[in-house]
């Protein structure tokens, strides 16, 4: 069993004990612990269950590569699943529970999946989807549901805050180990602006664990001195607890800073997302140790050799009393020596290499540790914890030569450079035959805008594994980055360490090499996703030759692992099964982030009222005070209706419609897009933009116009006013102003750049109020000023003047069919003008109305609405708007498209009015069905509803819809089946779409 040692532990402060709770058990750790070291120190080796088979799982690693020890952290508003114990700093009162088990960690029902494992092979999900429906529903779904999903979803709202930082730097160095620090020192000496980020809470990486000397002083002292020197430089920024999460195009990088994970509730933001732009990025991301594939390599107590060493040296925690070391390289011998030095038993070092004579092996032998050469592990004994191992010949099939009792296994399959960040933005890899790993190919880095590489690697991330090589490589990378970012060329010598003599590692992908299928079914490649050697081999047999396909078929390296522990071993097994060299198989794509980052950090401050900017009209405050119910229109918030107390929205809308038709309504129309098109060629330009002839519109008049895309489809509509000889004002839809402005700019800048026209979006310069109803003229006349009589200002004309002392431009246009004036005043005067209208209008029964009343009134008049009658596939001809399409013009945007055969097809659905026979309202989006059935046995569809309302004016349901041959079928009745499950069919008669005041008499008075 794991335990806390009486000494060791360079990172913990034993004078500061901390209490925490795991699965309801009170436990004790120390300041400086990670949750993982504290759990191991408290003797908790079982920390979770695997994803698919629910096998017992313990801690394997000591850093971000940990696949197993993911827990639910916190409670309530601070609950979060899948938190890595190895990267969670302990704090007093920490609360965690284990995942993927029911009812308890020790006794888990889901482990039944383990016993039916042979029915859950690679590709299980895909194969299952092919099974009969009944089997899926009754057999597989309950199993999959039980085992699917990693952790629990938080139920409460996150109580923490998050934020973004933006940062520009010449050189970004990812990783604060000795390589990162040496690179930083060299880059900073060039004068470049340098930022160094380190994901843990400590500088120096793994070097202090392994010791050694740099420039003649102990490595730990060199680290301290270097950090201090960097801190004192103005051009250097250092950040701990910050991961370089991803590298993107042209020197863009994301930093994920865990500001207050270890001090929850202290008022600081929990996480910070740094959006960094760097000229040069140096990846000093180190290396990750590889597991070995032997039977039972997932039993709690089997750990990476480097992690076993870390726990002793950093946190004074032993993985077990008797630890068997199994390896194919020299580095694991350091673990054996550290354990021995700490007074723990190492019964044997099992080395797959036939003869081991390196200095580290000699040191181990000298310390009295037995070295079994040419051997492997045939099997690990135990269930929820390790009880022993069987030794076998690595070259054989796994016959047990010897049983050895132990309670921990420290394994090392060699080290792989962390190439993730190098690969994120397209850096290429090469296969290193000697060290059996993929490493960054310096000749093929990710390229920046100038075609030059912007990412370098330093130290182990380059593939350098000894301290001396690491320092030399890192210093060179730092100098190169500083220079490439515009700094001075460095001349100082690189930090020095003694060169080490190593015996070459020997690639071991399966242990023993001739293991039986029974053994291969117990060799885990991917602990998190429960992928075994046998699964990858099965995938290869079933024809999955591409590594990307195999990944998805077996789920190898998916989820949070992202190829950290599973990658090379899995590729090697696949390559072996396909009988091809590893580089030919290649790797899967490494995608950011390096380890998962919180949704909170991604959202930052963009939530609630800061989620997106909200546009408010000058009268917005009045609407709020009046209790308006708002609806979003683009980024605007528009009053949908103004309900009175005790009124439903529907009742309020009906009241607003009737009041406007009978007395006087006010609409805040300020959101309407207002674009000024001006210049000597403006008329010509307007004729291209609109389907109508706009160049001939006389000054002082208004004309309703349509705009189409080059595909012929209706894109926007609105009333155009001719302001003077060279100026037009275009009203667009509320949501369309910015889009149409950009559309006009596009044509002016990129197609007709020699035309003398300019466009200005003046939407927000003006407040606009629609004064509507039989009393509209009365209220304006009462306010006094310009002549608004029928004679002076007839329908579809506009005039400038004053009303009630306000400078106003008044348009006689109507979207309701009533007598209507749309009056624009300077935005700063909007609220005062609105107040004046309300006050003066009181005796005329004035009431504001919202967008829903606007919609109903326009539907009663048969006016189309962009977004209701159009959906990006509708041409004006579909809507009976041929009258607004000029036949005189040679060209306008969309004209050519509207001549295509499909666009002139007489079978296109055309707009008509629909009147239900029983007065009910057709549901939104209802389809009309006709005679006969289609190939699927479904009734043939002959049309659909586009706008449907209860008309308070007519006291019945009215609708518009697109119906095949609709205009030729006036008076016929069509069926609209409802989808409420009752089988009800609403019958509606095809009628003229203008339901109210067909002659247009009301508006033209």
């Amino acid at each position: 069993m794991s335990t806390r040692l009486a000494d060791h532990g360079r990172l913990i402060d034993r004078s500061k004990p901390m209490n925490f709770e795991f699965n309801g058990k009170r436990m004790k750790g120390y300041e400086g612990d990670t949750l993982a070291s504290a759990l191991l120190g408290a003797g908790q080796t079982l920390v979770g269950r695997s994803f698919k088979y629910h096998r017992p799982r313990g801690i394997i690693a000591s850093g971000g590569e940990e696949p197993n020890a993911l827990v639910n952290m916190g409670q309530g508003g601070r609950f979060e699943p899948n938190q890595r114990t190895t990267t969670t700093e302990l704090f007093d009162g920490l609360y965690a529970t284990s995942q993927n088990h029911w009812p308890s960690l020790e006794f888990d029902v889901g482990v039944v999946n383990n016993y039916v494992a042979r029915f859950l092979p690679a590709g299980f999900y895909y194969k299952t989807f092919m099974a009969p429906r009944a089997a899926w529903k009754h057999v597989f779904e309950p199993i999959v549901r039980q085992s699917a999903g990693l952790g629990k979803v938080p139920k409460d709202r996150d109580v923490d805050t998050y934020e973004y930082f933006y940062h520009h730097t010449d050189v970004l160095i990812v990783g604060g180990g000795v390589a990162g620090l040496a690179a930083a020192k060299a880059a900073a000496a060039s004068g470049a602006k340098v930022m160094v980020v380190e994901q843990t809470a400590h500088w120096g990486g793994r070097t202090p664990v392994d010791g050694g000397e740099i420039d003649g002083i102990p490595a730990a002292d060199w680290i301290e001195a270097t950090v201090e020197a960097l801190e004192n430089m103005d051009n250097v920024t250092l950040r701990l607890r910050m991961q370089g999460s991803g590298i993107y195009d042209h020197g863009y990088a994301l930093g994920y800073e865990r500001v207050a994970d270890h001090t929850p509730g202290d008022g600081r933001p929990r996480h910070r997302l740094w959006r960094i732009r760097a000229q040069q990025i140096v990846n000093a991301t180190g290396a990750i140790e590889r597991p070995l594939s032997f039977a039972g390599n997932d039993i709690p107590g089997v750990m990476l050799a480097g992690a076993v060493r870390d726990y002793v040296v950093n946190w004074g925690v032993s993985a077990g009393d008797r630890t068997v070391v199994v390896t194919n390289n020299d580095d694991a011998y350091r673990t054996a020596l550290v354990l021995k030095e700490a007074g723990l038993e190492v019964p044997v070092i099992i080395d797959a290499r036939a003869a081991v004579t390196s200095p580290l092996a000699q040191a181990a032998r000298a310390a009295g540790i037995r070295v079994a050469e040419g051997k492997g592990i045939a099997k690990v004994h135990g269930g929820k914890f390790v009880t022993g191992v069987s030794i076998c010949a690595q070259a054989g099939e796994g016959s047990s030569l010897e049983e050895i009792k132990c309670d921990a296994v420290a394994m090392s399959g060699g080290w792989s450079p962390v190439v993730h960040l190098w690969s994120h933005c397209g850096g290429k890899l090469i296969w290193d035959e000697v060290q059996a790993f993929f490493r960054p190919d310096p000749a093929r880095p990710p390229l920046s805008h100038d075609g030059k590489g912007f990412v370098l690697t330093a130290g182990s991330a380059s593939g350098a594994l000894g301290l001396s090589d690491v320092l030399t490589d890192a210093d060179a990378a730092g100098k190169a980055a500083g220079k490439a970012a515009g700094g001075k060329a460095g001349r100082k010598a690189a930090p020095k360490a003694a060169a080490e003599v190593h015996q070459a590692m020997e690639p071991v992908w399966i242990m023993p090499q001739g293991a039986s299928i029974q053994k291969r079914m117990k060799m885990w490649l991917d602990y998190q996703n429960d992928v075994k050697v046998s699964d990858v081999q099965l995938a290869a047999r079933e024809g999955y030759e591409s590594v990307e396909h195999t990944k998805r078929y077996t789920t190898l390296g998916m989820a949070t692992d992202q190829g950290k522990l599973s990658n090379i071993n899995g590729l090697a097994v696949l390559s072996d099964a396909l009988d091809q060299p590893i580089p030919q198989t290649g790797t899967t794509t490494f995608r950011p982030p390096y380890t998962p980052i919180s949704f909170g950090a991604i959202a930052g401050e963009a939530k609630d009222e800061l989620f997106q900017p909200i546009r408010k009209t000058p009268m917005h405050d009045w609407h709020e005070e009046a209790g308006a119910y708002f609806e979003p229109v683009g980024h605007w918030r528009r009053p949908y209706t103004y309900p009175k107390p005790d009124e439903t929205h529907a009742q309020a809308v009906n009241r607003e419609v009737l009041n406007t038709r009978e007395r006087l309504g006010l609409l805040d129309a300020s959101t309407l897009g207002k674009l000024i098109v001006s210049g000597p060629d403006a008329g010509r330009f307007m004729d291209m933009m609109y389907t109508n002839l706009m160049s001939t519109l006389p000054v002082g008049k208004c004309r309703y116009g349509l705009m189409c895309t080059e595909n012929g489809f209706l894109s926007d509509d609105g009333v155009v006013a001719r302001i003077d000889e060279t100026t037009w004002l275009c009203h667009t839809t509320s949501g369309g102003a910015d889009r149409i402005h950009a559309w006009m700019e596009d044509w002016l800048q990129c197609e007709w750049w020699d035309w003398k026209v300019h466009v200005a979006n003046v939407t927000e310069q003006l407040a606009q109020v629609a004064v509507v109803g039989p009393n509209a003229r009365k209220v304006l006349e009462k306010l006094g000023g310009m002549d608004v009589s029928k004679e002076t200002l007839p329908f579809m004309q506009w005039a400038d003047g004053t009303i009630g002392g306000f400078d106003a431009r008044v348009y006689r246009i109507s979207f309701s069919g009533e007598l209507s004036y749309e009056i624009a005043v300077p935005a700063s005067q909007g609220r005062a003008f609105w107040d004046a209208l309300l006050e003066a209008g009181e005796e005329f029964g004035v009431m504001p109305y919202g967008t829903e009343a606007l919609h109903i009134m326009r539907a009663e008049k048969g006016f189309i609405m962009i977004g209701d009658e159009t959906d990006g596939t509708i041409i004006p001809q579909d809507l009976g708007l041929n009258w607004a399409i000029s036949k005189k013009k040679d060209d306008f945007l969309g004209k050519r498209a509207q001549l295509r055969s499909h666009m002139v097809d007489p079978d296109r659905w055309k707009l008509v009015g629909l009147e239900t026979l029983d007065g009910t309202v057709i549901p939104d989006g209802a389809y009309a069905v006709g005679e006969g059935v289609n190939a699927n046995g479904q009734k043939n569809v002959i049309g659909r509803v586009t706008s449907t309302y209860f008309s308070p004016t007519l006291n019945k349901g009215i609708a518009m819809g697109l119906i095949k041959h609709g205009p030729d079928r006036m008076g016929e009745v069509v069926d609209f089946p409802t989808l409420d499950g009752t089988g009800t069919v609403i019958k509606a008669r095809i009628v003229d779409q203008v339901f109210y005041d067909k002659e247009g008499a009301k508006g033209n008075v």
């Binding site: 042209h250 933005c425 050519r896 295509r900």
Partner: protein, 107 residues
């Protein structure tokens, strides 16, 4: 997150300030064109893996459109230039050709 130099205002613009506007130098075909010409104009795009000419708009900057010659694979930007031209500058085309002799060339 590309960075592109806006030739109109001179800013080295981050992609968040820009809006991609599709392939550059597409000749418009209007009324009178054949169905094939019109189809090509409206729908056919090169979408190459490699050298490409694009339209961009500095939408959260000066608001102007410009052209960029860019490699869609390596993300190298060969240059940006005015939107008011029917073809990329010869010097730019020659520089790309020099760098990528195998490139089929402009248009």
């Amino acid at each position: 997150m590309l960075t592109l130099h806006c030739p109109n205002c001179g800013v080295m613009a981050d992609e968040t300030e820009l809006h991609a506007e599709g392939e550059a130098h597409i000749k418009r075909f209007g009324p009178g064109s054949s169905d094939e010409e019109f189809e090509n104009y409206l729908f056919e795009r090169k979408n190459p893996k490699g050298v490409h000419f694009e339209r961009w708009r500095h939408v959260a900057g000066c608001g102007k459109y410009f052209h960029a010659a860019r490699n869609t694979m390596t993300l190298e930007v060969y240059g940006t230039y005015s939107a008011q031209t029917l073809a990329p500058p010869k010097t730019l085309v020659n520089a790309i050709k020099k760098k990528h002799p195998e490139w089929e060339g402009w248009a």
